[in-house]
Symmetry: C2
């Protein structure tokens, strides 16, 4: 399967299209015009058409989009037509929240292991997945094919663990530690920096309270 190069801005919008189309599917909506979709999503209809034209369009003049077809095709573009094995490093509240989020499985992300440094957590299990000691990680990765590691670790521990993971063959890191990871080029890092998101909110709040003089 060959893919066309798509701009980052379009990629950033695709998961949102996918989510909206999934919601429509749940409501048994069969088709939708770009105008209706644009009103729901608060994006212009021309933006939607442009974005989807990157992948050949999918729409038909006078019909609009077939919801199920478009959902499936965007899913394929997002790589959701395959399965990913995922492990979680850090079995604190955030790691447990991720482990408990069944929606990930619906989208093809299967949690295969949860690891922690704390021996007290070892043997506990979350939705049938046992928490293991982080010392077992290397051995585990020799026996199990794992694509993605979610890191819910303190920032001091994350860089070392991430570089070990890269060495042991992990290709994707979903990083929740409040630090940037500098890894070899072919490992993909997607960051979720919660504190930074909260700061953006406080910026906007303080902007509203002390508005610009422009």
């Amino acid at each position: 399967m060959q893919k066309k190069h798509i701009s980052k801005a379009v990629i950033n919008r695709l998961p949102r299209y996918y989510r909206y189309l999934g919601d429509l599917l749940e409501k048994d909506v069969v088709r939708i015009s770009s105008k209706e979709l644009s009103e729901k999503m608060n994006v212009t209809a021309s933006q939607i058409r442009q974005d989807l034209n990157n992948f050949g369009g999918f729409g038909q003049q006078g019909y609009g989009y077939n919801v199920e077809y478009l959902h499936t095709e965007i899913g394929k573009i997002l790589g959701l037509d395959r399965k990913y094995n995922l492990i979680i490093i850090g079995a604190g509240n955030l790691g447990q929240a991720l482990a408990n989020y069944v929606d990930f499985e619906r989208r093809g992300f299967f949690i295969k292991g949860i690891f922690d440094v704390n021996p007290k957590l070892v043997g506990l299990s979350i939705r049938g997945i046992e928490i293991r000691l982080i010392d077992e990680l290397e051995e585990f990765l020799k026996v199990n094919q794992v694509d993605i590691a979610a890191l819910t670790l303190p920032k001091a521990k994350a860089p070392k663990v991430a570089s070990d993971l890269a060495k042991w063959g992990i290709k994707g890191i979903w990083n929740f530690a409040p630090t940037d990871l500098h890894l070899v080029e072919n490992v993909i890092v997607e960051n979720v920096h919660l504190a930074e998101s909260l700061m953006k909110l406080s910026y906007k709040l303080s902007e509203q309270q002390y508005p610009s003089d422009k």
Copy 2:
């Protein structure tokens, strides 16, 4: 206090500057050149200078930046020189993870209450903050001044709760529910859509495995 209008792209980068400068402060670094900072952050030195020039510069020719001063000033721009009272709606793992994250307090975000629909959780407490029934929310907001509500609710419940919160005077919503909230204009919503972040990772992984033919 009057603020200049700053572009969204700059705002998106400010929390990262703030984090890096905070890390330098912890290491007792007193000053840094834009070149050194740019190498650490993997941004060009000219980008850093441009970004900071939006706020009057802060740097001195031949000296670079004073780390503590720059950290403080960026903190002010981000609205971190004041305190925010925060409540968490949804006391599941994710809500608990947020409640346990002490770093928020260091930055001026104080958790004042945690609410859930589940009566079984009522009376439990997280770091001294009691979990209350969501039915008490309106009354609570009459008595307590709250700036921000973090929503860690299922998507079906989030829109109604969010519109209630707006009605009861909440100005900022930190939304973790996988749905967009359509609220009155003066309520600020900052979304953390975890599933969408994971989809971006899967897109990049599948792009790498089936690379572009361009």
